[in-house]
């Protein structure tokens, strides 16, 4: 019988994950070896307004550089057991999420169900999950665009003489398996692993943003003549997926592996996770088994 309590944290052998008692948002993750990171997470969306250049299959053209939060607080409850502990959050009618710890695993899993995206007065929404941390990454982040090599990214124009920030659409990069930020002074690095290719950025200090869903009534004029408004079962598409958060001291080795090597292993282990095959068991007698 899973106990539905409201104690705002879950733990396993490695991590203690706390949510804010009042808002219900993720608040901090503490590793058993002492590293602690303040991390809050919320869902946002970029609105699509009537403008000359619009978002579509080929392009991302939000009407502002920062998205709108879906909510200011969530309802939540915990489900605990010997193998898996979860905190379940409800952001809105169309966004719910489970924060999960498995026994013996060093990552925090976030499983989200997003959709159908409501179409209000705007011409569509592009939905992002934003992790806000206390990591001072000086505007730098890294993403892998091919599942192997991490590339340094930044939203600042380093070509001009004075520091000029690019618009957010120019700072969205392909994330095939993971996006990371790290702090040179605290040596803490945090990575968010994806279960499929997504677009991502780190537009504000300490933030990681990943776009998981888009529902648009606009066309971007690149010749497709069709807007991104996929439907299923008579309603807008519902997407379900997972992110996994890993963090640690990137200067410390564990079992002779650097932090980035451990993240690469975790990403490959997820991407190539085991396949399940089922057969009827009724013909198998117990002795033979």
């Amino acid at each position: 019988e899973a106990d539905m309590e409201v104690i705002p944290y879950i733990t396993n052998e490695y991590l203690r994950v706390s949510v804010n008692k009042d808002t219900g948002f993720l608040e901090s993750i503490q590793h058993v070896d002492g590293v602690k990171v303040q991390v809050s997470q919320n869902w946002y969306y970029y609105k699509q307004a009537q403008q000359t250049l619009q978002s579509g299959a080929y392009s991302f053209r939000p009407d502002s550089d920062r998205p709108t939060p879906v909510t200011e607080k969530v309802t939540y409850h915990a489900v605990r057991g010997s193998l898996v502990k979860e905190i379940r959050q409800r952001f809105s009618d169309w966004i719910t999420q489970v924060i999960r710890l498995y026994r013996g695993e060093e990552f925090l899993e976030v499983e989200w169900v997003v959709g159908p995206v409501p179409l209000g007065t705007d011409l569509g929404k592009e939905v992002v999950s934003v992790f806000s941390t206390n990591i001072t990454n000086s505007g730098e982040f890294s993403t892998d665009s091919n599942g192997r090599q991490m590339m340094r990214r930044s939203c600042w124009n380093d070509s001009t003489s004075h520091q000029q920030k690019k618009p957010v659409a120019s700072c969205y990069y392909p994330v095939t398996s993971r996006i990371c930020i790290h702090s040179l002074n605290t040596s803490v690095e945090l990575c968010v692993l994806t279960d499929r290719a997504q677009g991502g950025t780190s537009y504000n200090e300490g933030e990681i943003e990943l776009m998981v869903h888009r529902r648009l009534l606009t066309d971007d004029g690149f010749g497709l003549e069709e807007s991104l408004n996929e439907e299923a079962h008579g309603a807008g598409l519902v997407v379900k997926g997972k992110h996994r958060i890993l963090f640690g001291n990137f200067r410390q080795e564990v079992d002779d592996l650097t932090f980035s090597e451990r993240v690469a292993h975790a990403a490959r282990r997820w991407q190539m996770e085991p396949w399940l095959f089922f057969a009827s068991g009724e013909k198998i007698n117990r002795r033979k088994w």
Partner: protein, 188 residues
């Protein structure tokens, strides 16, 4: 084999930039999905055939090819698998495609409130039943009656190899009815 050729062709086709990035009209995207699904479906019979060479013959004493039919469920992400939900006992093979040993948390749609899970050493495996979030139960198009996930850890899966589990639900209709009633009340 012809089946593998079909799958290679479908995968190669969906490596086109329009398929990867989604810069194609909906009907083209649907056609990519159709091609992939048909090829995977055709291949699953081939995979089942190959797996039956890998697995010993459990029912009969003769050392012959085991004629077990293995199936894959493609909607486990919404806790749905018709085959699983209609069997009294299940043989589960967990195949590890990595070149290193791994372990993996298995989540299956649960139809009972108690289970017996035995590993290849015939030892009982610890499991946990986790209630499904409403958002998963209400996913449009989901038809499964399962309202819980059966979670357990598959350990020490050898590289490019598999481990096997024998799973039998322990049914208790009275208890299940009262649980389903209580759960539907809490749902509403």
């Amino acid at each position: 084999s012809y089946e593998l050729h079909l799958l290679r062709h479908a995968v190669a086709l969906t490596l086109h930039h329009d398929a990867i990035t989604g810069t194609s009209q909906q009907h083209v995207a649907n056609d990519f999905t159709r091609l992939l699904s048909e090829a995977m479906d055709t291949c699953s019979k081939k995979v089942s055939n190959l797996l039956s060479y890998l697995t010993p013959t459990w029912g009969s004493s003769r050392r012959s090819k085991n004629n077990q039919q293995f199936v894959t469920c493609h909607q486990m992400n919404v806790s749905q698998c018709r085959f699983l939900e209609t069997q009294d006992a299940i043989l589960l093979l967990v195949y590890n495609p990595l070149s290193v040993k791994t372990y993996h948390y298995v989540r299956l749609p649960a139809i009972a409130l108690h289970y017996s899970i035995r590993d290849y050493n015939d030892e009982e495996v610890e499991y946990q039943l986790v209630p499904l979030p409403k958002a998963v139960i209400n996913v449009p198009g989901r038809t499964s009656s399962a309202i819980q996930d059966l979670v357990f850890e598959a350990e020490n899966i050898p590289p490019l190899g598999f481990t096997a589990y024998y799973i039998t639900p322990v049914r208790d209709q009275l208890e299940e009815n009262s649980y389903a009633k209580k759960h539907s009340v809490s749902n509403s």
